[in-house]
Assembly symmetry: C2
Homo-oligomer: 224 residues x 2
DNA sequence: GCCGTTCGTTATAAGTTGTAACGCTCGAAA
DNA sequence: TTTCGAGCGTTACAACTTATAACGAACGGC
């Protein structure tokens, strides 16, 4: 995993302790959410006293930031693996859902309610771009055909986020839609807004995915 | 507003103080998020000492619960007003977006990351049902035509959440889609995941709405 | 006007994050 | 091998937080 070979014993110990801290933090977040993360509790569980952790992380925010970064990294790797060698949107979607359900709090750590003042460091935006690239690759493997919407023309001029990716505005639109629709179902499912409603969220997710891919999955057309 | 007439002076004073507390809590949440809500800070701002607030609210959770309830009530009223007298999905969607942008933290209070252990009281589920009803009403004003999806047949048997509403499975499907797609765009926009990407979220929202209503708004069809 | 309910207070307990100062230990270099 | 410094863990402390307990004062119904 990490380069525990090429380093002084001190550094090896340090990275190992940092990893152990993150491990406890992850499990604590998975059970009680990110807002309930307590450095003191982690220290106590590791058998050492509170302030000791500050040798390894500057503070709570620093630890959370690294967890967010790890989550992004994990998601990017998972989606990249699912889209390799063939960039298949369907595989991508299922990988996304599997990854989210595997650890809901990890998904919410990325896409959930943000702290108003917090600003993500550059590492994260880099990975986010990487994520966007695999999504755009997958969406490029489809032939868009349909009316040009106002959003399409808008995206033609505002494609900074797609940077150097050679994708048509329609593909950009498609990628955004892919993202927002799947997130719409996933986030509500993870937040528990479907519990007690009685239906199976997996089928709703599948229906949205089908509609995304075939265009006739459903969203019943309007008429009035 | 409240029944400040028919009550003893003591009760009038109490409801007024409770309202003032909520007012401060709202503004505090709007600026720093729900997790940063501090009873002590509210008390200090109101010119009284910390524990005094416990005469009015049992604790932080109690206050937040009431704020959540108020938010649900406000959203339900707003959407109901937008769908009256004619249940128009388009008006409903714009009312939803306006309400969300008006106070993002209030939207996230309802649809954002939940506290794992927390369970909403009955009041909230009642209002949630009311909300669902206006959504179903609006979606009933459309004539669905399209292939019957697996989700449709599933919803035919699992329509407990629609209870006594006379809506076809296709309409139920449509309502769910309406909800998840708009939430998908809105939540990502409010969470700031579009900032820095350079495009206008309003156009994406509009595109999704158009597709929802006309069925040809876009999501470019797949082919391969 | 009495008297009890309600309110606001201070004091206290048990948490939290984070800083400061003090030794100990380990490892690298002489 | 011995020394010596960087890094680590400790306790002590400050400034917060939520929440409870106990006390006194004020308000209002009777």
């Amino acid at each position: 995993m990490a380069e525990t070979d090429t380093a002084t014993p001190r550094e090896r110990y340090r990275t190992q302790v940092r990893a152990e801290i993150k491990e406890h933090a992850r499990e604590q977040i998975a059970t009680a959410g990110a807002s309930a993360l307590s450095l003191n509790a982690i220290a106590k569980r590791m058998g050492l006293s509170g302030p000791a952790l500050y040798r390894y992380y500057a503070g709570r925010d620093d630890l959370i930031t690294e967890l967010v970064e790890d989550a992004y990294r994990s998601l990017a790797d998972t989606l990249h693996a699912a889209a390799t060698p063939d960039p298949d949107p369907r595989a991508l979607a299922h990988a996304l859902r599997g990854w989210a359900l595997d650890d809901p709090q990890r998904y919410l750590l990325i896409y959930g309610t943000p702290v108003p003042g917090y600003h993500a460091p550059d590492h994260v935006t880099v990975i986010a771009n990487e994520l966007m690239t695999t999504l755009l690759d997958a969406c490029s493997a489809t032939l868009p055909d349909g009316a040009v919407t106002p959003l399409d023309t808008h995206l033609e001029k505002h494609r900074r986020w797609a940077a150097d990716h050679p994708a048509s505005p329609a593909v950009l639109h498609r990628a955004l839609t892919f993202w927002t629709r799947l997130h719409g179902v996933l986030s509500l499912e993870l937040a528990g807004h479907f519990t007690g409603m009685g239906f199976d969220p997996a089928l709703l997710f599948a229906a949205e995915l089908d509609d995304l891919l075939t265009g006739t999955g459903n969203p019943p057309t309007h008429q009035q």
